[in-house]
Structures are given as C-alpha cells and as structure tokens.
Symmetry: C2
Subunit: 587 residues, 2 copies
C-alpha cells in the first residue's frame, strides 16, 4: 500500500526518486492523509492540495538546514509525513503522537508552533535576517495561502520582504479559497494572474518589491521542481505563485471546498460524516436570530473575518442575508474598525469571532471602538475551557485581555434566554461597545424570567439569597456554582448564589451588602484567573474581613488537554469547592 | 494678517473663493499653523504638507455630509482651521481648546478620535457600508499617508475597499516619508509611480482592486480640485495618489523632514527649539548601550516600527548600527514576528516600542513569541502616568494586557542601574521572552548593588525589612513607596519595603512569610489597577487575615491630564498612603 512511502523516513530519502516515483508517492501520501482524516478528522482540503508542492519543496531544498515555515501550518501534514512522522497518518495507534500544526517539539524540521494565519512571512523574515547577521547561507522559505494573504501581518510581511536584499522565498499557495471563498480586492489580481499565466497589468507581489515566478500547475511535481530550482539560493526575495486545487484527489472535497476545509471523521466511500451532532448549538441559533433581526431592520450588519459558520452563516444563510452580511476575509483588525465605522454612521454591526482570533484586535477594540465609544456588538465564541484545545487556539485569555479596556461592557450569559436578551440589548442600545461571551457549555435553557435591559451597568443578580458564603459564578461556570450551592446545602451551609452577568465591572453596592452576613466569597470563571474577573472581587474585599477565593484556569499555554481533567486538577468541581468553603468558614 | 481666513468659519465659506484667494488662504493657514506650533509645539511636517489638499477637499466636498476621515489625524490641523476651530491656531488664549487629533467632541466635521496609524481606510469603509445599508448618498473619503500605508490594518483596509461596489475615495498623501524615512518594498512602487506620472509597470492600488488617479502636484490647489471633482460621487472605490512635500513652506522643515515631523516650541526665525532638555534620558542611554552591545556581538539586532528615536537611534546611530538596526516601518505586528524569527535562528533581537503602540501586537506576542518561548527582548517605553497624555496615546494599559500572557517575563526596574542589568540579562539569556518596562519618572541612579541574574523568576527583593505594614512598590512607583515608608516612620510605623521587579508573577514564599509580622500590605503600580499587578497580590491574600490595598490608575481613557493632579485625585501620594496604612493597621 505504501510501496514508496515506506522507504521515506526523512527528506533526504526523496532525493533519489524519479518523477514517476514521486507521483506515486503523492498518491500514497493522499492515502495516508485519507486514513487519518477519515478516522480522526482534521484539515482536509489544505493538505490534499499541497501534496505535490511539499514533495517538490523537500526534493529541491535541504530541510532542516533550509528552513520552511508554513502559514497557519494546517497544510503541513504532507510535510510531517515526509519528515519522520508518517506513522501518525498510516497507523491509528500513533494518531496522537502529533499535533495538527507544525511543532518544534515534534521535529527539527518544524521551526514554530503556528496556528493563527498570516504570520509565516514575518517569522521567516526573522530567520533570514538572523542568517544574514550570523553568516549562514541556507534558504529560507515561507509558504502562505488559503486566504492568509489578506491578513495584516502577512501584508506587512510582504512589504518588509520587498526591502530585503538576500535570500528569501515566499511560496504563495493560491487555491482561490480561504476557509470559505476568498474576499478582498487583491484576489481579483490573483485571479487575473492565474488566468493570464502570471502576466497581468498589475501584480501585488512586484508592487511590494518582490521578484515574481508563476507556476500554472501547482499540483504538477515537475513544474514545481523546476520553479523551486530556479529560485533556490536566490540572492533576492522572490514570490513563487503556485496554483493548486484545494482538496485535490478526493471528489467530494474538490466539489465542496468550504465544507472540506476541515472535517470531522467521515466515511471515505460516501464522504458522509460518521460522527454527527444533533442538538442545538449557539452558532446555528445565532445565525437564525440574526437573520430574523436583519429582515426587520436593514441596518443590522453581521461581520465575519473568514469564519462565517461560527456565527451560523453557512452558504444558504449568507445568501439570505445579502448585503447585511460582510466577510472581510482574514482581516480581524479591519473587521473591528469596519464595525466601528458602521456604528458611527447609524448601522448596527455584530462581529462574531473566536476568542483566540480576537487576540488580533486588542488595539482596534481599544482605539477604533472603545475610545470612540461606538455601539459595536462583539460575539465572542469558544472563550472557554471547553473551546478548541490546540495550544494555538485556546480561548481562555479573553477576560484579562479585553475586560480591562475602558468603556467596553463585557457580558457573560448563563443560559440561552439570557444570551439572546443580552445580544438583543447590545444591538439596540447606543451607549456602549458591548461584547457577549457566547456560552461553550452546551445550550442550557432556563424557565426563569431574564433581564432585558442591561443599561444599568454592573448590577449583579442574586439568584439565591443565603448567608455565610456567597458563590459568584460567572457565565459558563454558573452551573458549577449552582451545583456547589447544592453541595453546600448538604453540609448545612445555606449559601448565596450570584449571577454577576458583567465581566467588566463590580457591583460595589451588592458586594458591600454581602459583608454583613457572609464570611466567605467564592468566584468562578471560565478563563485564566490572572488579571481576570475574580481578582477584582478579591481586591475589593482586600481591606475587609471577608475571605475570598478565586477559581479559574491557570495562566498557562494548555495543549490538547481534556477539559474535565484540567477542571479536576484545579479543583473546579462542586464537591471540592464546597469542601474549600466549609474549611474557610471554620478558619 | 488673516485677510481671507478671517472670513472662513466653516467649509461652505470656501466655496466662493477663487483659486488665487485659496492660494492666499493656504499662506494664511501656514501662518496660523506657525503661530501655534512655534509657541506650543506639535506635528509640523504633516500639516504644512497637507494645507492645499485640505482646502481642495473642503472646496470640492460638503463636510460634514460628506465625511473625511484622517489617518492618525496628526495632519488634521488645516482641517480644524477650516472647520470652525481657527482661534486655537491664531490666538494663544485658545490653544487649549483643541486636541492634536480629530475629535468628535470638538466638531461635527470630525468622526473619530484617532491617534494610531493605519486605521482610516477600514473606519471609513464602515461609514460607507452604513451609508449603503441605510440609503445615504454622501461621499466617504479616507486620507492616509505619512508611512501609515505599511500598517497591517491599512493594507487589510485597502483590500476590503477593493471589493466594495459603491462610493469610497481613498486619498493617499505620499510625501515619501514616515516619521523617519519610509520602509518597505511598496515604497519602491510608490516612488516609481511618482517618477512616472502614475504609470508604472505595477501598481499597489490597482493590485488591491481599486481604481487609481494620480496627482503630480499635491500642493497645487487647481490640480487637486480637478482630481477631487473627477472622483466625487464615484460609484466605485478609487485611490487618489497625491504627491505632497512634507513641511512645505518652511525651509528648515523641508530640509530635515524627520526632525520636523513633530516639534517642541521653536524660534521661527532660526528653527531652533526654545525649550530644551539637557539631562539624561532613557532613549539616548538605551541607544548608546545597544550600540556598544552591537559592536561586540554581531547577532544583536535592534528593531523599531518607525519610531527609531524612542530607543535612541537617531540618524547617526542608525548609520553606526548598520545591518544590526531594522526599521520595519509602521508594522508593529511584523516587528514582533520578525523578532521571534531572529531569536529562533540564533540572533538577539531587541524591539523598542511605545506602550500604546504595543497594543497592536497582543496576538503576535502571544502566538509568534510566547507560545514558541523565543528569547525576544521588548523595551516598553512611556508605559506610565508620566507618558504621552493624549487619549489615543496613553500607555497605562500594558500590565493587564501583556502580563497575563503565559511564558512572558515582564520586569519593572526602579533605577538606571537595575534597568540596564535587566536589559542585559534579557538579551543574553535563552529561556524566556522578556519585556522590560522602561522607567518614565526620570533617570534615577542608585548606589546599591543591583541583581544581575533574573533567571530565578518571581523572586522579589526586600529592600528594607520592617513589620506591621509592607509596601510593594513596582517600577516607577518605587520611589513613592520609599517616601511612604519615610512618612510611616514619622508615624512610628516601621514598614517593610519591597521591590518586586517581576510584574508577571508573585513571590509566594516571600508573601507567605510576610503574614507573620504584617497586618497590612500595600501595592503601588504605575498603570491601571484592574487586571494588573496588585490584584494578584490581593487575590493571594484573599483567604488570609492580611489586609491589602492596591494603588494605581483607574480603568479609564484619561485625556490631556496633569499627572500630578491624577495622582493626587487617586491618593497616590506618600502622605495620603501612609495615613491609609495607619488607618488600616487600627482596623
């Protein structure tokens, strides 16, 4: 099955292969990819498209002396297969040996942990600059594509590269796609270049000061090899624009490129998912809600930065939304500034974004939105221990990051009804920029009446009045708070339960009033404790007799963890917290 | 003196002027600018260059219905003069009526508070999109230039604009300069376009999908008017590339454009500064130190993102540093990624940046540097109540922002000797990304021996052992801590003084040991308290009997404040803190 691949343990083993053998190897790599992806899930289209280019890169260059940096690195699976990690693709027993991204801990052929887009050119420019300062002579190659080119850091990187005067090779993997379709004016230029064999009346890459080489068939090994040989040891920065087909070699993936960018496990004969999810989820619910809202109000405008489905906008819903849905492409900074402009000129912008990618926008939230106090609504997804669990995609740092920016109101709902009440208030009010932390602990319903108006800032809700101990349980961790109160009742402690709702401020009046009948206050938050919500409560009570204990996650780069194990380890378990409370009460 | 200007109270008053009268008006505006700038200081070159373009914009378009958004807005002084705020330039009594940037609180002709670069295109795109959704028909104009084009947000914005299908006008003010000289490959293309009357073999703007209009003489009112009239009411996005001269009309500024980007008050006859500063400053000291370091080690590489002088690299020092100094242009994200790549490939990168602009790089610090744990050194300038005091340039939010990112070591020196010991350790070690918060309270010398090795993380230094109360005084506020201890001694309290040195972690052993003999712990930090250093201490002592009080700045967008007044208001005054301590001790 793996006639040639079985002999490839490192890139050097490629060097003696004929073109025909490399073509055969490409098929075997696709088989290995198919084996892993159909059973384990992962990035499909990007890797199927990059098989030939990866073979050609390793045939022409000498990794790890020559250094290849993959953007996002979600297309680095063929690279992993060729650099000693093929078992993780061919043998189910070894699936967990590797991460889904490049990882220097795994291999000397990987130079960075990368998971966010648009970073490869600037990172690789650093490798090249260090080479020049320290007298090295290796080739430095950045591989970028799949929509990443529109990200600010990538464009800054191209501009920087255009001023360099030594070896630097930028391979632009152009498959005419981002996760969804590409967006942005530059893609008209790329299309033009693709259709005219690299010769159009203008050229983004030469405009950035780079030399330019065009490869029409980016899935043709010979053509790739000859292009890479041409630029090898180049003394100037050069962009090699290769045209590949996303999902190449698997019909369902070639036909629905968006669907097959990333896939859950599937049946390889039919392409149908073998795992399925039937319950409610906040993405679909949010999409439905916003579509209804848009119908009644033409000023409502949903914004995504290339991840439309996280806020429920699959193709069908995008068509329904028409001009009221904007995909800016991978360009998070611009998404936030655009939202600010929309709000300023009377529209109602809603930007849905993963917590981890919101990290791109600290300055835009602060400067473009909050200093101007424009009423933008942010929906922050996967900001939770239950979010994505690759080290590059962890979403638990948002509270320290954005909740300490002045003027922002950051809300944490505890159930579906509260979530939509908050979102609706955020969209309709004109006083504040508002972010809502979308729950990640499943769609929980509540029969209780939820507050509709959040304009009286930082007024917490006491959901159960008790004494001795108060549990302030924020957002996703509210249910842990509820269970803790139950455990305490079993221990004859009648604790108070509080749903704080506001992450960005404290209810000083309520906190003051607790002093009378409470000796202990507990805070719970689904994010890092350092710089977060609970520490503000601890500081508030600093000069009083009230004892405070904060529960939340550690300031740490978690990687491929089990949420339950992490919570267990940190003692964020109702029984354990209840024990801590009773111990503190006795202190 | 202001024959024509005296009749201009709003843009509509321009409409009846002849070209000759507008030329005269341009001279009067320069006179008004000169009056303010020579006495008050401010952005010189950008405004002198934009006089004619601003007149032409307001002649052709109808502000505020048509909306003009100025990038950075440090070139908006002529706009302010023409929109009802001329007294702030002509009359010293009114200098303080206005800020140095556009400001919606000042005028309906201003749409955003803007002070960071590269935001205008994306913000204005939002205004345009809202117009389209709500049925408006006004012109939307973004004015960008002065190096801002290389910033990621601007490039993302151009790309977004290139896909729009309605009115959107981007005026590119090309004066061939950033604050210092321009950097980046794209400026070769701009030069080409300038030299070939807008016709080069490639074109960055058309490559982004924009229409393109070239104006050779961007200081010629007639030529500008005819170009703006051509694009007015355009139904497509268009870039109008105007070539202006920075500092136009004042010989010293035309001759030394970098020096005259921004100026302190000066004598208009000679161009010499009337205020001068003779003491030591951390910028020059840092430059000298790094130059010496570079001489002995060719792998040391200093990086700036278009503000070279903040780290002491004036033109002369840049020449001395040669290839070991990199100005990436306005491209903060890329500066950080570049540093990570440099560190990974064996060089020793040092990135000097203003705290306020570091806000651009949260994600790059986290993903490109900290997840990879690459030994980059960051020097964070003006992170202080004593830093820049315009609302868009406040540097007090850095502690919550970066100190809660895992793996980063953030150090706060209390004097010159400690600063250089920390910087030297940071550059030479290979274990951690390290940021050093450059003091902003003057260059203070200490005779005491300072620690050289900071590799044992989070070990605080007790500089005076006492009892009852402990003052933990971070960085710049250490001297306030010292004075507080003196005040307490007068009240017969023998307080302990601690120099924590580490912002990013707590010395649990030391803090634990304090419990025995201390009832009160005070923290002092020169930054916002929310999410900062002191709240970690408060949280640590949450379940103990020790009383903690945190001193620092409020989470607020301060604007044009007096540092002393702010400190007074917040009670960050030794006498007042000492009173608080004695009150707490009695509690």
């Amino acid at each position: 099955m793996y006639k040639i691949l079985s002999k490839i343990n490192a890139p050097k083993d490629l060097k003696s292969l004929s073109i025909e053998e490399m073509k055969q190897l490409a098929e075997e790599i696709r088989e290995a990819l198919m084996n892993r992806l159909s059973k384990h899930g992962g990035h499909f289209g990007p890797n199927f498209g990059m098989v030939e280019a990866t073979i050609a890169l390793h045939y022409v260059f000498d990794s790890p002396k020559d250094k290849i940096v993959y953007d996002v690195s979600h297309q680095s699976y063929p690279h992993k297969i060729l650099t000693g990690r093929k078992l993780a693709y061919t043998d189910e027993m070894h699936f967990d040996d590797i991460s889904g991204y490049t990882n220097p801990q795994e291999s000397e052929h990987d130079f960075f942990n990368i998971g966010h887009t648009s970073t490869s050119v600037s990172l690789a420019a650093g490798l090249a600059k260090a080479r020049d300062l320290t007298g090295g002579s290796e080739n430095i190659i950045a591989v970028i594509g799949d929509g990443s080119l529109s990200g600010g850091e990538a464009l800054e990187g191209l501009d920087l590269a255009g001023e360099m005067d030594s070896n630097f090779i930028i391979v632009v993997n152009d498959n005419d796609m981002s996760i969804a379709e590409n967006h942005g004016g530059m893609y008209k230029n790329l299309k033009n270049l693709r259709e005219n064999n690299g010769k159009a009346e203008t050229n983004l890459f030469t405009a950035m000061g780079l030399d330019y080489v065009f490869v029409k068939s980016g899935n043709d090994i010979s053509e790739l090899i000859s292009a890479f040989e041409r630029v090898k040891d180049s003394k100037k920065p050069v962009a090699v624009h290769i045209v590949t087909e996303k999902g190449k070699g698997y019909q369902p993936a070639e036909e629905d490129k968006e669907q097959w960018h990333w896939s859950l496990p599937f049946d390889r004969e039919t392409g149908k998912l073998t795992l399925s999810f039937n319950g409610e989820d906040y993405s679909s619910l949010t999409g439905e809600y916003l579509l209804k809202k848009m119908k009644n109000d033409s000023s409502v405008c949903a914004i995504t930065s290339a991840t439309p489905t996280i806020m429920g906008f699959n193709k069908e819903n995008r068509i329904k939304a028409g001009k009221q849905f904007v995909d800016v492409g991978i360009a998070e900074e611009t998404a936030v500034a655009l939202a600010s402009g929309l709000a300023k000129n009377g529209a109602k912008p809603v930007y849905g974004v993963y917590s981890t990618f919101m990290q791109r926008t600290y300055d835009q939230i602060s400067q473009d939105v909050c200093i101007n106090n424009n009423p933008v609504t942010f929906l922050v997804f996967a900001a939770s221990v239950w979010g994505m669990n690759d080290v590059t995609h962890i979403g638990i740092y948002d509270i320290p990051m954005i909740s300490n920016i002045p003027n922002l109101v950051y809300l944490a709902p505890t159930c579906k009804e509260e979530y939509f009440a908050m979102v609706d208030w955020a969209i309709e009010q004109k006083e504040h920029p508002v972010a809502v932390r979308v729950p990640s602990n499943g769609v929980i319903h509540s029969d209780k009446e939820v507050r509709k108006d959040y304009s009286e800032l930082n007024r917490y809700e006491v959901t159960k009045q008790g004494s001795e101990a108060a549990i302030i349980a924020l957002g996703d961790f509210y249910q842990i708070g509820e269970q803790t109160v139950e455990k305490l009742a079993e221990k004859n402690v009648n604790a108070t339960l509080i749903n704080p709702q506001y992450i960005t401020g404290i209810d000083t009046e309520l906190l003051d009033s607790l002093k009378k009948q409470h000796k202990v206050v507990i805070t719970l938050e689904d994010g890092v404790v350092d710089g977060g919500f609970g520490q503000k409560i601890a500081a508030f009570y600093g000069d009083s007799a009230v004892k405070v204990k904060n529960y939340g996650l550690k300031k740490e780069f978690y990687d491929r963890y089990s949420a339950n194990e992490v919570l267990e380890e940190l003692g964020i378990v109702p029984e354990k917290i209840a024990d801590d409370v009773t111990a503190l009460l006795k202190k």
